[in-house]
């Protein structure tokens, strides 16, 4: 690795336990339905399931055939059907249709629904309304934490973002609290807790309640992880909206990393078929470049290639015995490295082809201008042209949002004209997308508070109501301003650069955005950890509209070892990007911390925008 961790960096806890736990529980559930059965899996659960229990394990437990839950009639002839689904109403209807079709045909089978990560009352309600509640048995597979990497846990709940931040639906908060509870049971209590955001606060409170209710066995345990930091995604949309230029983020933006692995198409593998590649710390080549700025990656890879060649070349001067050694011990590793190297070089080429075009540079330039807040007119024109040329609906939307957040909303004229242009380019249904974005506070109009319509002000009044204290209201974001510029100034997010920013030897976390911008989310975490509280950050908290929802909670007795105190669990509610992960890994290396990431899902700008978009069904 280009920047190795300090020698005294703490060891990471072993998260593979979570996988084993989930696997055992699933097997137990499958065995609750003895005999051969067909398993219907929801598409979104397929990749996570694959990381927990592969097909052969499922077959061992008498799963005959696997089906995807989709809107097609199932052609299963098994006498027992098992459904593994997320608790969504849509899925319940699918199951109900299937069961009712069987009933019509006079067929009786056994049905079992396994909800992951938990069952919702609403789902049972639907089963009841459809008249099949008595015919199916329901179970929960409490699989909420998938270790994607040694330091990365994902809940694989991409819908969390839309459900909570757009629809104001808090159902997943309980899941988050359960997940935290599981972590504290397995890895000891967290002596220091910090958080910011309404959702963070609610999750934290609920989690505490869970811990209190149970006769906590963790009380006597020594903490393994010294700090936990909960952060709402809506504290920092800007970072998530920027184009990623760190290798892992760029791979995600370009190819979409799904559940820790990526499908490299023929253009990368330089063969005629696609290849699914697992991207994590076990990939030796990848682990060295994942956190690097893209401009360094190619140089690094070619250096690596030369080294590899040299290693191969060594065999020329070998005698038989040495050769035997070489073949039996090193060759396999070299071959493996060779394979990975060629894959990543292929990926780089493919990215370069896509990104080094002038367009991309212009795009980055515009983004930087928006972050720094100069040439706003020019940037607005750029965005307009972007829309006019129908470059990409998601990209256009992203730029509009970035402009809106950095500028505290668009001025009324631009707001109307950009929206009009957008509708003309990408279709009228996006009128709903805009309404969503407005509600989430991503794309707003610069307006004094009094122009809020009657309904909205009524609702925002409710928010201040005492009874509504704990309630998120979807509309509350209307009343709040992003204040990005002021925060940026306060936290010094735009580094002053004298001369060229050396991306090879980064000075600060800004390197993940080519030295133009320190990610806000990571900066907040850095500042709080430094102070061990929110003290002195009052102004920032106020600007973030989060005065009520920033909290610190320290354990009174300090049983934590100094090593554990340098392990920090960061919880991103609503998703985090690979760039943020890279930035915090960098911070960790600088300060001797190790960060562990828990996110509801890995996200990036495109995913955020898609979550807000209304697409025709």
């Amino acid at each position: 690795m280009a920047f190795p961790y300090r020698l005294d960096a703490p060891e990471l806890p072993d998260f593979s336990m979570l996988k084993r736990l989930a696997r055992d529980q699933l097997i137990y559930l499958l065995e609750q339905l003895p005999g051969r059965k067909d398993l219907f899996i929801e598409a979104d659960l397929m990749s996570p399931l694959d990381r927990i229990a592969n097909v052969s394990i499922l077959k061992q437990h008498e799963v005959d055939k696997l089906y995807k839950v989709e809107n097609k009639p199932a052609l299963s002839y098994s006498e027992q059907l098992c459904f593994l689904v997320r608790p969504r109403i849509k899925n319940m209807r699918y199951i109900a249709n299937l069961v009712n079709a069987d009933k019509l045909a006079g067929r009786t089978r056994k049905y079992k629904v396994i909800f992951s990560p938990q069952k919702f009352y609403a789902c049972e309600m639907v089963l009841e309304e459809e008249g099949i509640y008595g015919d199916v048995s329901c179970d929960e597979w409490a699989f909420s934490l998938l270790p994607l990497d040694v330091d990365l846990l994902s809940m694989e709940l991409p819908e969390f973002f839309r459900d909570y931040f757009l629809e104001g639906d808090q159902r997943w908060i309980n899941t988050v609290a359960q997940a935290l509870h599981l972590l504290s049971t397995l890895y000891g209590p967290f002596p220091n807790c910090y958080g910011i955001g309404r959702c963070a606060k609610m999750s934290y409170d609920l989690w505490r309640k869970l811990e209190e209710e149970e006769d906590s066995e963790t009380k006597g345990r020594r903490p393994e992880i010294g700090h936990i930091f909960l952060l709402d995604r809506d504290m920092d949309f800007v970072t998530a909206l920027c184009s990623q230029v760190v290798y892992e983020g760029l791979v995600d933006d370009t190819f979409r990393i799904k559940c820790g692995s990526v499908d490299f198409g023929p253009e990368v593998t330089s063969s005629d078929k696609s290849l699914k590649v697992l991207l994590n710390a076990e990939d030796k080549v990848f682990s060295e470049i994942r956190n690097e700025h893209f401009s360094n990656v190619f140089g690094f890879l070619s250096q690596k290639a030369r080294n590899l060649q040299a290693q191969y070349d060594r065999r020329r001067g070998m005698d038989i015995k040495q050769m035997k050694n070489f073949v039996s011990q090193e060759l396999k590793g070299l071959k493996q490295e060779h394979r990975l190297l060629s894959l990543h070089i292929g990926a780089c080429e493919s990215i370069m082809k896509k990104k080094t075009k002038q367009d991309f540079q212009e795009l980055i330039k515009t983004e930087h201008a928006l972050l720094e807040g100069f040439n706003i007119r020019e940037s607005t024109n750029y965005i307009e042209e972007h829309i006019d040329r129908q470059v990409s609906p998601i990209e256009s939307l992203r730029l509009m949002c970035l402009l809106s957040i950095t500028e505290n909303g668009l001025n009324p004229k631009d707001y109307r004209s950009l929206k009009t242009q957008y509708l003309q380019s990408y279709g009228p249904e996006h009128l709903l997308t805009f309404s969503n974005l407005r509600r989430a506070g991503l794309l707003t109009e610069q307006a004094p508070g009094d122009t809020l319509t009657a309904v909205e002000s009524k609702v925002s009044k409710l928010v201040t109501d005492k009874a509504a204290g704990k309630i998120t209201d979807a509309f509350s974001s209307l009343a709040k301003r992003s204040n990005f510029r002021a925060i940026s100034k306060k936290l010094n997010l735009i580094p002053r650069v004298d001369g060229e920013y050396d991306l090879k030897v980064p000075r600060d976390m800004a390197y993940i955005f080519s030295g133009a911008y320190v990610p806000l989310s990571c900066r907040i975490i850095e500042q709080v950890l430094e102070r061990r509280s929110w003290q002195g950050l009052d102004e920032v908290v106020r600007l973030l509209n989060c005065s009520e929802f920033a909290f610190t909670d320290m354990a009174k007795e300090d049983k934590a070892s100094s090593e554990s105190l340098r392990l920090i669990l960061v919880v991103f509610l609503g998703g985090c990007t690979f760039s943020e992960i890279s930035a915090l890994r960098f911070l960790g290396r600088e300060k001797g911390y190790r960060f562990i990431f828990l996110t509801t899902a890995i996200t990036n700008s495109a995913r955020l925008m898609e979550a807000m978009s209304e697409v025709k069904a």
């Binding site: 104001g168 908060i173 009009t420 509708l423 009128l431 928010v463 209201d473």
Partner: protein
């Protein structure tokens, strides 16, 4: 049963116990029997008629064969057994002849044995099936006994029957002699697990077989180890050396352990605390001389006796024997105390025995609280406060259970107050719902942060309230509202609309109709109508932008429909931009321009659009014409770019010359004219441009140009 009983009255009744619970059998005035095997689950069974029964049977009882209750009755010299279906006569095996009537019968505690008292004064004892005789005893008393009961003899397993007349009590067993006692008063016998209880107006006695340990110790001149140990202890207290002699004697026989055990056991069977004490003291004394005597039995006996003495106290009045207590278990004893509302004693016992709080103190406190809430004369506040003061946060106490009890007594307000103390919202909510305090339940559920709970309440509310009230409730609870909306979005679209309507939320109503316009409606007319509704809603919401946009969309839809009809091809649902592009691609330039005017497409967009479309068509002639139609609002660089994209260098060059000075270098480079680009850059004296050109210079071909640039640079630096 009602009618029969009303008409004929109940003559007699028997209670009996089976493994299904306690049953009851009754004899009515019509001399018919009816029984129920379990009074908890009352199912009555009318037994068959006994032929020729004209008067009450001389005696009768209930038996249990194979878990089925039967009735045995005696009429004159005959015995009948009634089961569910039949009535059969039976004859006891080996009964002495001459019997003309049965005066009494008794079933043993275990229902296994039966005793019959005949008018010849003989007592027949045998199995309950009457098929086997155990013994027969003639007491020579022909007067009908007042009562006859079995006396269990747990130790010897021998059978014995106790017969009582007015002033005489007789114990009869498988022996030629009987034991007789004189009764001073009218008495009543109760057969129990290990003996017979004898009640009279002034006395309460217990007749039972003497346990082994007691017998060994207290038998006259007993030399049993226990007896010796008791003696040794007494002597020791008198400070006599005889203590040592006795002790030695026991030890020589190696029976000290046995002696201690005997003393402990015997203590258990004593009712007088003094006697218990001296026996225990003896045991404790003996223990001193033993190396490894496990202390448990001693300790437990002390504890048990203390508990027993406490409940035997006449204030309490539960005179259990030790064996009964052991059979009953402490939990049941506590339950009985609780039922008698002897809460303080129960708690003291729990504390004394150090029972876990959840099973012990908390449980009793909870019972106490449940009783407390029934005290109607105390105000709600006082009761709630008193309960909370006593219970505090005692683990295992469920305030919701207590509240449920309060509600059961009709004290809803008190129940609500009590629920305030319940820390688990999950427990509060169901009861609140039951009490029809749904709104309170809703806010509690919301406070808990558990969406599932909120949902439970919501659906409950939905069924309970009328729609209007339901919506009004939701209106004040944004979190519940958004949850319900989510549900409706998937399950009840119409309700969603009503919700928005009720709230006058025109913005969302508009969005709703927009969604409907492309999701629910198929026909164009329907879609346009939906859009019109949406537009109206947007106007009401003062969202003119959305209203206008929606109206434009209506216009576009109608137009697209017309285009599709007139020109064929697919127009419907295309964005405006794509509609115009499609028109151009189809060669309908006039229409395209008309459309652009109608929808006020900005110039820039139109130029981009036309440029892209014409290039796609590779209609270079038209493109050139278009480029000359007026000054391009987007400059000419895009023209160059797009031509190069189509690999038409020739056309690209045409436009390169028209590109404005700022982008000229870029344009020239695009068409591959490095030399000219270099010239322009040098002319501009622009360092960035120079390096851009330089980076495009490749090896041999552009060597000269590169040199030229280097020179220009050097010159510029000199200056």
């Amino acid at each position: 049963m009602g009618n029969e009983v009303l008409q004929n009255r109940v003559l007699d009744a028997r209670i009996f116990h089976t493994e299904f619970g306690s049953g009851v059998a009754i004899l009515t005035g019509a001399y018919r029997f009816t029984l129920s095997a379990n009074v908890g689950d009352l199912k009555l069974r009318r037994m068959p008629e006994v032929p020729g029964l004209q008067s009450a049977p001389s005696c009768w009882t209930t038996l249990c064969h194979d878990r089925v209750p039967h009735i045995l009755l005696a009429v004159g010299p005959d015995l009948y057994i009634l089961d569910h279906a039949t009535c059969s006569t039976v004859t006891p095996a080996g009964l002495a002849p001459g019997v003309s009537s049965f005066l009494q019968m008794a079933v043993s505690f275990t229902y296994r044995h039966l005793a019959l008292f005949t008018d010849t004064g003989s007592i027949w004892m045998g199995t309950a099936s009457l098929k086997e005789k155990l013994c027969e005893f003639n007491c020579n008393i022909r007067a009908p006994p007042k009562q006859m009961v079995w006396c269990s003899r747990p130790r010897s397993k021998e059978r014995a029957v106790v017969v009582a007349w007015e002033r005489r009590l007789m114990v009869v067993g498988n022996a030629p002699e009987s034991i007789q006692f004189v009764l001073d008063e009218d008495s009543y016998l109760v057969p129990e697990l290990d003996g017979v209880r004898i009640f009279s107006r002034t006395t309460h006695e217990f007749l039972h077989e003497v346990p082994v340990a007691s017998e060994e110790i207290f038998k006259i001149a007993s030399m049993a180890p226990g007896a010796l140990l008791l003696e040794a202890q007494k002597e020791y207290e008198k400070e006599s050396q005889k203590a040592d002699e006795y002790l030695r004697e026991i030890q020589e026989l190696g029976q000290l352990t046995q002696a201690v055990q005997q003393c402990i056991e015997a203590a258990g069977h004593e009712h007088q605390p003094d006697m218990q004490k001296s026996l225990l003291r003896a045991a404790s004394f003996g223990k001193c001389f033993l190396d490894r005597f496990p202390p448990d039995s001693f300790v437990h006996m002390c504890q048990d006796l203390r508990v027993l003495n406490a409940v035997r106290d006449y204030h309490i009045g539960i005179p259990l024997t030790y064996s009964q207590y052991k059979q009953l278990t402490i939990q049941v004893l506590l339950d009985r105390l609780v039922l008698r509302r002897l809460y303080p004693l129960a708690i003291q016992i729990c504390e004394y025995l150090r029972l876990p709080e959840v099973q012990g103190v908390s449980r009793i406190l909870a019972h106490w609280a449940c009783y407390k809430v029934q005290q109607k004369d105390v105000s709600d506040e006082d009761v709630a406060r008193a309960i909370n003061q006593k219970l505090g946060d005692t683990p295992g106490v469920s305030y919701s259970d207590i509240a449920a009890r309060a509600y059961g007594c009709g004290r809803t307000e008190l129940a609500i107050k009590l629920l305030e103390y319940e820390p688990r919202s999950g427990e509060q909510v169901p009861l609140l719902l039951k009490m029809k305090r749904s709104k309170l339940a809703l806010s509690k559920a919301i406070e808990s942060g558990d969406t599932d709970l909120v949902f439970t309440v919501l659906l409950h509310l939905k069924n309970e309230l009328n729609r209007g009230d339901f919506f009004m409730t939701l209106r004040n609870q944004p979190m519940a509202l958004s949850l319900y909306r989510q549900f409706c979005k998937h399950q009840e679209l119409d309700t969603l609309k009503d919700l928005y309507n009720q709230d006058d939320n025109h913005q969302e109503l508009g969005s709703f109709h927009i969604r409907a316009s492309y999701a629910a409606e198929e026909r164009i007319e329907g879609r346009v109508a939906a859009l019109q509704t949406a537009a109206d809603a947007f106007y009401k919401a003062k969202n003119e932008f959305a209203a206008k946009a929606t109206e434009d969309q209506m216009k576009l839809l109608r137009l697209q429909r017309r285009l599709q009809d007139e020109l064929g091809g697919q127009f419907l649902d295309l964005p405006l931009h794509d509609t115009v592009t499609t028109l151009i691609l189809g060669g309908h330039n006039k229409r395209a321009e008309q459309l652009a005017r109608d929808f006020r497409i900005p110039d820039k967009r139109l130029w981009w659009l036309k440029l892209t479309a014409l290039a796609d068509l590779e209609d270079w002639e038209e493109l050139e014409k278009f480029s000359k139609s007026k000054k391009s609002p987007i400059g000419y660089l895009p023209f160059v770019e797009i031509c190069m994209k189509q690999h038409n260098k020739y056309e690209a060059k045409k436009y390169a010359s028209r590109v404005g000075p700022e982008q000229k270098v870029k344009a020239l480079l695009l068409v591959g004219d490095v030399a000219q680009a270099a010239d322009v850059a040098i002319e501009h004296r622009n360092e960035a441009e120079l390096s851009l050109v330089l980076s495009h210079c490749t090896g041999a071909t552009d060597g000269a140009t590169a040199e030229k640039i280097q020179r220009a640079r050097a010159q510029a630096q000199k200056k």
